[in-house]
Amino acid sequence: RPRVASDPVAFSHLGSGSNPFQHLEKSAVLQEARIFNETPINPRRCLHILTKIIYLLNQGEHFGTTEATEAFFAMTRLFQSNDQTLRRMCYLTIKEMANISEDVIIVTSSSSYVFPMLSPQTTMLQAIERYMKQAIVDKVPSVSSSALVSSLHMVKMSYDVVKRWVNEAQEAASSDNVMVQYHALGLLYHLRKNDRLAVTKMLNKFTKSGLKSPFAYCMLIRIASKLLDETEGGHDSPLFDFIESCLRNKNEMVVYEAASAIVHMPNCTARELAPAVSVLQLFCSSPKAALRYAAVRTLNKVAMKHPSAVTACNLDLENLITDSNRSIATLAITTLLKTGSESSVDRLMKQISSFVSEISDEFKVVVVQAISALCQKYPRKHSVMMNFLSNMLRDDVNESVCLWLGGFDYKRAIVDCIISIIEENPESKETGLAHLCEFTRTATRPFAQVRKKGTAQNFKSAVSALAKFGAQNDDLLPSVLVLMQRCMMDSDDEVRDRATFYMNVLQQKQKALNAAYIFNGLSVSIPGLEKSLHQYTLEPLEKPFDMKTVPLATTPISEQKTDIAPVATSKLPERLAPSRQDIYQEQLAAVPEFHGLGPLFKSSEPVQLTEAETEYVVRCIKHTFARHMVFQFDCTNTLNDQLLQKVLVQMEPSESYEVIHYIPAATLPYSQPGSSYTLVRLPDDDPTAVSCTFSCTMKYLVKDCDPNTGEPDDDGYDDEYVLEDLEVTVADHIQKVLKPNFAAAWEEVGDEFEKEETFALASVRTLDEAVGNIISFLGMQPCERSDKVPENKNSHVLFLAGVFRGGHDVLVRARLALADGVTMQVTVRSGEETVVDVILASVG
């Protein structure tokens, strides 16, 4: 590109003056649009006006409903013109305006053919059905493509109607035209994706027939890898062979898609990865930046799990560390940090320091994560990395105050990383703390000015972070208190509230208070708390509001952290989406029989009660309440010649659990999932009876129906279907809670009801296995990263935290020793004695 282009000044005098659409007035344009009604039609002028309208819409100009509808009706006249461009612009304008004007029929157009069609009512759709079916199989490829893509858009509104066009889509899929193939495949998959058998058949057919379109190949690869994932198919499956064969396709796009699919498969062995890695290696030296980027990004992913598989590419990656595209360079360096030897660390760190200020925050987080992983691998290098991290912190703080706030997420990643280095490397504690303190001092200095520039949200987090520093560090406490005092006069309500709250807590100088309110914070779900408080204010009671009735937050922070993809999605933290459990709570609240059960305590992950590819697919979600459990059975009927009615799941408990209510699913048509519920009372007299096995049978009324029309017979017959047994275990009664500071929480609960017992786990061979078993058995949250067992150790301590049904905190400390099998000493603490007993009894 010529040098001039990047110099805006050179063009500025031309700037606005040369834009024919500058200063367009909506009302003036609409005024001009009156010539649409003139006879004869003046194509050139009309074309120009239509262009202006689209341009205005594109700039975000708002058209009122009446304006849009009027303009629309005037425009319909222009369809009579024989100027093709004018007619096409007309369709385009109407398409752009479709969502504003009333009664407008959406138009999809393609070359000279047009499908004027579709208002949201299905009746309308049926009217054009025959026309659509013909268009899908039209000999002109662009007509067929447009019809297929329009059908795909329509699936959202009327699945049932579009479903009837499957045969036509099938015919189109064997077209010679590459785009028609691709669009037909996409539509077919979309219509069949809930029917695993049909998807399998379709894959078989197309993988054998050999498609021409590279896009269609990419789509097939995605479908195949999704199916492999769902069926947990082994890598000897023909689907895997198909994906692997695509590595030899002549189109780069397909090759890359296949390599990426293989890399993303869980449980891939190094041998299976090798061919994918070697094509990615070739791409690393491509002249196309996008291909180099794609390759190195995927290799980075491989390096996380299988660093040794990527070592063969080290030389190619070395060439990329000076790439002018900094994203590519960063990814290459972080990959090398994972695969390279200890001796190359210093050099790579130096290289990346030279341009770290140029890369975007998204990639800075990638760098920090790579370093964090590196510290675990090469503990001796911690001083180099610590220096690097603190330089990253310091540079930005000094550079500009704004950056400190702008990059808050990435700063937090650095601080987290330093903290974890300290935790894992006792010898680095001193330097690490010194760096943190320095950061705090530097950061607190511009703190007051920060308020002026930062957004309120960032500032709130900053206040909380500050409180943590104050609570951790006695010598910083006075200056933190001064800053808090200043924040108490802030103009933002929430900032004031927070500052007042932290100020009061900090002034008490009590460790227990700091632990409860600053380090460990609230572990309840925020939307849940809001709902509970609202409920409380509606029905004022004598007794004070009980925090324990609030549902707990279900996603512990640490899980997100360990799992972050190298390229973190920065959009996530902005919205406070309701958790899975909040959604269930809402759904259950809609069933009148469940009123009075109190708040939902925990919802389990779905448990499959049927084999894959059976007539009916049933999975169960266990919802735990204070004294009851609700079993939600999500059933899907995969037979297109049956309609099920009054579907319920009968449950026979092995213990003294009492089934009190069945809520059947009224109807279960083909492939539309429905839910039936069973309400069970937990035994009151024996609080230690936490586990139980239920034998389950699905009962229903069958009505045969015509597979084509879905019309059911009048008469039906009762039938039943035996499901797999359902287990309720201790984990269903415990909700995970992350205690960022376990020791403080341990002291806070106290030893009043502490109990200790020793067990021998004879069948367990390694500490890792023991830790995994205990966590999944108790369903509690591992704290202080104690779920990771350091290599070559023969003893380990696991810290677990949770809340037992009814809202009692429970903490477990398990000391493990490896000898012949694993010996485990379990110490349990809780504010409630029965809870301690339940845990110990269930472990034994």
């Binding site: 590109r1 001039v4 282009a5 990047s6 805006p8 050179a10 063009f11 005098h13 040369s18 834009n19 024919p20 659409f21 050139r44 120009h48 262009t51 594109n58 975000g60 461009t85 096409r88 612009m89 385009l92 398409k95 999809t108 393609s110 070359s111 662009s142 493509s145 447009s146 893509v149 329009s150 795909l152 785009m179 691709y182 669009h183 996409g186 539509l187 979309h190 994706k193 896009f215 990419c218 789509m219 995605r222 999704k226 994932d229 796009m253 890359y256 993303h264 196309k288 930046a289 996008a290 291909l291 980027y293 002018s324 595209n325 994203s327 975007s360 998204e362 390229v567 920065s570 959009k571």
Partner: protein, 189 residues
Amino acid sequence: MDSASLQPSLYTVKAVFILDNDGNRLLSKYYDPELYPSMKEQKNFERNVFNKTHKADNEIAFLEGLTIVYKGSIDLFFYVVGSAQENELMLMSVLNCLFDSLSHILRKNVERRCLLDNMDGVFLVVDEIIDGGVILESDPQQVLQKVNYRADENPLSEQSVAQHITEKLALTTNVLQSAKEQIKWSILK
């Protein structure tokens, strides 16, 4: 997390936009209603993308959790946006098709003024390449055939020819001017 977001689907393109070299929007289409639903969010996103990309012609960037492929030409910037998991080469094929088709209908004058003079053709081309986020066509020859639009269908009026020439002249003078300045400064150093 990754496998969940890689749902097999034809909806590949999240957004496409063309900006001038001040970062102003000339054309922009968002196909995912959940991505930046308001005009303000869209323009903020475009501003952010422009600031991070206009200085270096790097072809690909990752911003706000989205993969963005781009290309600059004189005083124009073309962007195609997809999800973080999208096949980067698919996005590139859309970008290349868009650029080549426009280059053809603008008779190789891929610059702001010429683009604005043929805005109707530009709208039609974009509509032929992407339909609601689905790649409809990726072969520029096919696109051109379907659009059947030629820039010289609109012969320039005398006035606009004159204007055009003045601008071209002004541009040249400006380039010369800035070159002179640069030489002067390099000597003074």
